[in-house]
């Protein structure tokens, strides 16, 4: 098994939901979504094997973007929508 390095398994990279800007908040949402998957499947070879499948399948891309949207709801609320 080609185990992912430890930093790819941190569930909340940076340890906080607070970010300086919406753009950084969105990056965090994407990282949190990815790291969740890393924690369920920490074998890099299996992740890479699945990458081509989902990254060229519109339905998978839509599903992945929905997870990011949900994570972002939480982060945006945490930052009071950067108002």
């Amino acid at each position: 098994m080609n185990h992912l390095p430890e930093e790819e398994l941190t569930m909340i990279p940076g340890g906080s939901l607070i970010t300086a800007t919406p753009e950084e908040g969105r990056s965090l949402a994407m990282m949190i979504a990815r790291h969740t998957i890393h924690n369920i499947q920490p074998d890099l070879d299996k992740l890479v094997a699945g990458r081509e499948t989902y990254a060229t399948d519109p339905d998978s891309l839509i599903a992945a973007s929905q997870v990011v949207a949900i994570e972002f709801q939480t982060i945006a609320a945490a930052n009071n929508y950067w108002k």
Copy 2:
């Protein structure tokens, strides 16, 4: 690889969730949803290849519209529902 231009990869176009009107907020929701997909799959050729598939499949269209609905929840809350 036919890489998307940088402006198609900005995750929060305009850098803010605040918009003047609900219509602009909805446009932003659609752009954010699209740009998330661009960040997962930045190869324009692969995106174009999938376009015909999902844009004529009712289930894919419903799924895509759900992502926009979720993004819009966040943006509407950020704008206090434009009240």
Copy 3:
């Protein structure tokens, strides 16, 4: 291409999330959901072609009704639940 008329592409018909009654709020949720799909696929012929498929498939109907439910959450909050 049989392009939808402009009024079918307005993303927030009426330009506001505020409605007089829950019934009108629900109508707005349905319209917003439909117009999102119109913006992703503005070719009326392709929409009509998909209509028979999804409108007789229980899973598609359930998926479509979920999108309306999510849009309605936003509209109901905007109207303080018409209390």
Copy 4:
């Protein structure tokens, strides 16, 4: 076409999200979910044709119950959770 009667098409039966009890709120959530589907597909024969399919398919039942869960979130919030 065997068109559903008008009362099956009211989107918010009773015209309000406010109910006396959580049980009534849940009933309303189920009715709203059903009536959304009625509005998308108002032909009773087509609804009945799909009924056997989805009501014996666990995945369809799970999907349908999720829509009710989302509608109930809105109704519960409208009623301040009947506290």
Copy 5:
């Protein structure tokens, strides 16, 4: 038809969203999710027939757990997160 007993059809068992502990709140979320399905399909034989299918299919289990997660959001909010 092997009709479920009446108590399996109560939509909000106990008639309230308020519980003493998060654990009880979670139990309630699971019961509400199950009873929703009972109300859509009250024939015990058909439910039992589908049980083996979904309870050994990872995707069905994930989908079912998502419904519980959504019901729990409502219950947790109702209890002010048991703070």
Copy 6:
């Protein structure tokens, strides 16, 4: 039947939604999601049988990560986003 031990069936491990850090909150979200599945399917052999399927299927991984995202929304709100 190879029944899971009791501690794998606790629905809210630790009995509280409050955690010291976002990282611990995320761990809790993952545990709650897993334990929900344990409660629906408490036979370890059946869970292990499904593990290989879903942990190498990108769509299943995305679906599982969505459930974690929803659980985390609740936990993050309970902790006032650890602000």
